[in-house]
Symmetry: C2
């Protein structure tokens, strides 16, 4: 009889989908599932659906033994230590929600809470493109731009237990208004949603493109297909996003002396179209002593990175 | 007979002056001295002058007992762990200089090396404007713009043992060429030297000013006097520097969740003229959850901050 490795439950709650997983202590994702966040008809109903989904995963995996703990990745403004989602803009009604207590009661195992972008970063750090580098940042290009900062091999949360708010770093001279109400934020030009908005606006303004369908249906996936066919408009928008990320990453590298930046999230599918302009800006602005030591790489784990990061978080918490 | 508190020697080597001090373990500066860096006619001669100056301070303070150790603050690119100044652009001939070994041999006490801006930050953190806040950044506005980052109450050096290179953070759209060869660095608009250069250029271009003497003699002290008399040109330049710092600090606060930024160095004398524009930018760009918690304050210790920071560094190193 071989000894069975400990397992953990993992949860990645997004505005579009709730993803769940069963992951080993070593970070191997044994099972995963997902359902649309909008299936939850109220905050309480969504909690109920999540608990039911996790129990199903657990029961299907009875042979792996009782999971030791649950790690919850949630978006928006959270308080990890208190286990509270203060506000999740994309999940209606989630305000001051004591999610770790609710899930821990429903499953009768310990639960911990972390920002979704931080879990993503822990995944790439422990098992993905950032392995072996203890000072790194992960940018996730999705509906917004998330950031997860790992310093000395640990998630950095600062004094206010918010994640690295890279998406709301201002770009001087960028006039675009962000969903957060501020002007010039990185995510207005580098998020998957921001890039699609720019594409639609420019098509309306008569810019040349190979796109022929309904501009309102454009998303980052369509843009990547177009860019693959050398569409000048989508290529240009990816190039501009790369430049913006280059400025932000120059700032981060110069400030913190990190080794690595990992670009993840759905928008990272366009990494090949953003890399050249990003590198140009980095070469121009990162201090000389550091430039030869750094790497900017595409994430290796895709959308499962937060579920894999859950194992690293629970290990670090002593579970 | 009362017990005497341990003392340390402290050194702050700048491109203009070498400052030395005798400081207690608790951070009280008991004696200090300085001499022009240009008195050293060669790299070896400068080392000799520094050793002589420290011995003089030590001998004058014989009643305080033997200093336990020396902390050296040096500018430029240094390797703190190896005790080497790799390159100090403003000190001719200092390349790959094993300064801690040389000083330790000359004085027969242990010596440690740190970036001058980091020592400044440790001073303000331990005894100055940043007391009690364990997550903070200090900007020093001098010939350049230095940065010292304190995370969890410790100097953060990153993977490459360089200080927080805040001075070379790029500002999008800033066309000014920096002494480092790159374009758009913060220090081209916010260092004392950068602000004086802008003032001279604008006088040459016919901008209105109360200044009547030789424009080539303008320095930040003259600019502060003019600003005090409501000179429109110097006020505008300080305002622009405040805006640039506001962008960089918005970035830092959003990325790291710090509590405090301390503005030090000679240029901090103009804090009152920069504060309003800096705060406007911060209010526009710092994420809401954090804005009410942060403070940007003028340094409290002036030019002696690095000598006082030396005590904090030596305490942290176990001396």
């Amino acid at each position: 009889m071989t000894e069975t490795e400990d397992t953990f439950l993992a949860l990645d709650i997004g505005g579009t989908n709730v993803k769940s997983g069963l992951v080993t202590r070593g970070g191997e994702l044994k099972k995963h599932d997902s359902f649309p966040t909008s299936d939850g008809k109220s905050p309480a109903h969504l909690i109920e659906l999540i608990a039911r989904n996790l129990k199903k995963l657990w029961n299907e995996s009875a042979s792996d033994g009782r999971p030791k703990a649950l790690a919850i990745g949630a978006p928006g403004w959270i308080k990890p230590k208190e286990g509270i989602v203060v506000m999740a803009p994309n999940i209606p009604g989630w305000r001051d929600l004591p999610i770790t207590r609710l899930m821990s009661q429903a499953l009768d195992i310990p639960a911990v809470l972390e920002n979704d972008a931080n879990l993503y970063a822990l995944g790439e750090w422990s098992k993905g493109a950032g392995q072996g580098r203890d000072n790194q940042i992960t940018l996730t290009l999705g509906t917004g731009v998330g950031g997860g900062l790992i310093l000395d091999g640990k998630i950095w949360n600062g004094s206010f237990t918010s994640a690295a708010e890279v998406g709301h770093i201002p770009l001087v001279g960028n006039p675009r208004v962000c969903g957060c109400g501020r002007v010039g934020c990185l995510e207005t030009v580098a998020s998957a949603l921001g890039m699609a908005s720019i594409m639609k606006e420019r098509i309306a303004a008569g810019h040349e493109t190979l796109h022929r369908g309904d501009p309102n249906k454009i998303d980052s996936k369509i843009m990547m297909e177009l860019a693959g066919k050398k569409d000048p408009l989508s290529l240009r928008i990816f190039r501009e996003a790369g430049e913006a990320m280059g400025y932000v990453l120059s700032f981060v590298f110069n400030l913190l002396g990190l080794e690595t930046a990992v670009i993840g999230g759905g928008g990272a599918g366009a990494f090949e179209f953003m890399e050249e302009s990003m590198t140009e800006i980095l070469e121009r602005h990162v201090v000389t002593a550091v430039m030869s030591e750094i790497a900017v790489v595409r994430g290796a784990l895709g959308g499962n990175a937060p579920l894999i990061g859950a194992a690293a978080l629970l290990n670090a918490c002593g579970h």
